[in-house]
Symmetry: C2
Subunit: 200 residues, 2 copies
DNA sequence: AACATTACGGAACAGCGCTCCGTAATGCAA
DNA sequence: TTGCATTACGGAGCGCTGTTCCGTAATGTT
């Protein structure tokens, strides 16, 4: 029934009745503000209050908590991903590019409280977040890795980009809290080990 | 007042009236069983139920959750700490000793679900646990590290045992869950990097 | 036998993530 | 202009968590 859609267009699945997305952007802004203030594990109620909306609104726009986090940090993850090829082109050596990119990534993770933890499933229900990070950054990391290590010697299969990326992420967990803990230095040392594995 | 403590001994602060610690050992056994089944983040109620005691009993014996975890794993941490000097004496090279010890430590962390995470404050209120691990294992790790790396070259201060230990711990987070994630390999690569830093 | 002392058990509190539904706002149609 | 279908909204409610607290029961001593 009701093919009498009158004129306009036969395809018009979203009638767009009711109030349009008024709060989506306000929500993202508020979430970003709360994340920097209280970390990515901040209570959902706090975000809702800051944005001046109810709980329901948050969960309709972002069915799971991870999706909110992803939405907030999408721009920065994207720019981090795009930095990979650019660094490879600009740097004098592939190794320098890899190290610079890792430093960039570490800085990103460390400055967002708890992001590194949420990245790999320690925090509950970070499915989407983990998947997004992996999907977007593993290829970038892989390209840098391939370029940086000598292809010679194949007695033992070298560690793959997925493991390197997760290793870097793990090393950044809790880095913002402990003063004596130097995640960036450890990451560079890990990379040294990874590259030494390739060479012989 | 009340120096009339009769005979026995003037110092006897614990009169030991009432039921003695009947449940302490049962508690530890139950906690250990639950930890292997559901990880160290298992609900306290689950531990209490398994042990057949009430919540109050747990929190009287172990005021904070960390202390219970520490008590459960004290033996294994201790044996891990003692393995350090022994490996150093038995191994052909100090590097081999360090690597073997790290493998031991990694195996310990990975087999206990969530222990690595609880080790460094990602899980809430793991103060005591973190302190105990650090206090007990940093010296051991430091000894192995000193022995394994050449003392030459001092342009840049090498990374300290605290950071190496925390780095190893962090790399083990979530290792039991992700099939493709190879924490042990990453730890060995990190060590490669650390040792390469010392040499030149 | 009666008591003081201690351990015990579980109800109760505060916090969390997430769901659900009654209500209010909105744009199109008559 | 008026009415209505459609959609977004807000927050109470549910189940779960860690932790505290207190009435009660068991115990060794007097």
């Amino acid at each position: 029934m009701a093919e009498a859609q009158s004129a306009q267009s036969p395809v018009a699945p979203s009638k767009q009745v009711g109030r349009p997305r008024r709060s989506e952007q306000a929500l993202l802004d508020a979430a970003a503000a709360v994340f920097v203030a209280s970390g990515v594990d901040a209570p959902v109620r706090e975000i809702a209050a800051k944005a001046g909306v109810g709980m329901g609104t948050i969960y309709r726009h972002f069915p799971t908590r991870s999706e909110l986090v992803v939405a907030v940090y999408r721009h920065q993850v994207e720019s981090c991903a795009e930095a990979g090829p650019r660094l490879l082109a600009e740097s004098t050596t592939p190794e320098a590019a890899l190290r610079a990119w890792a430093a960039l990534f570490v800085d990103f993770l460390v400055t967002k409280h708890g992001l590194a933890g949420a990245l790999q499933g320690v925090s509950a229900g970070s499915d989407t977040l983990h998947a997004y990070f992996i999907d977007r950054l593993v290829p970038v990391c892989g390209t840098l890795l391939e370029a940086a290590r000598e292809p010679i010697d194949a007695t033992t299969p070298p560690i793959d980009a997925y493991n390197v990326l997760k290793g870097i992420g793990n090393l950044c967990i809790g880095a913002a809290g402990a003063a004596r803990y130097e995640a960036a230095a450890l990451v560079q040392l890990l990379i040294s080990g990874v590259l030494a594995q390739g060479a012989r």
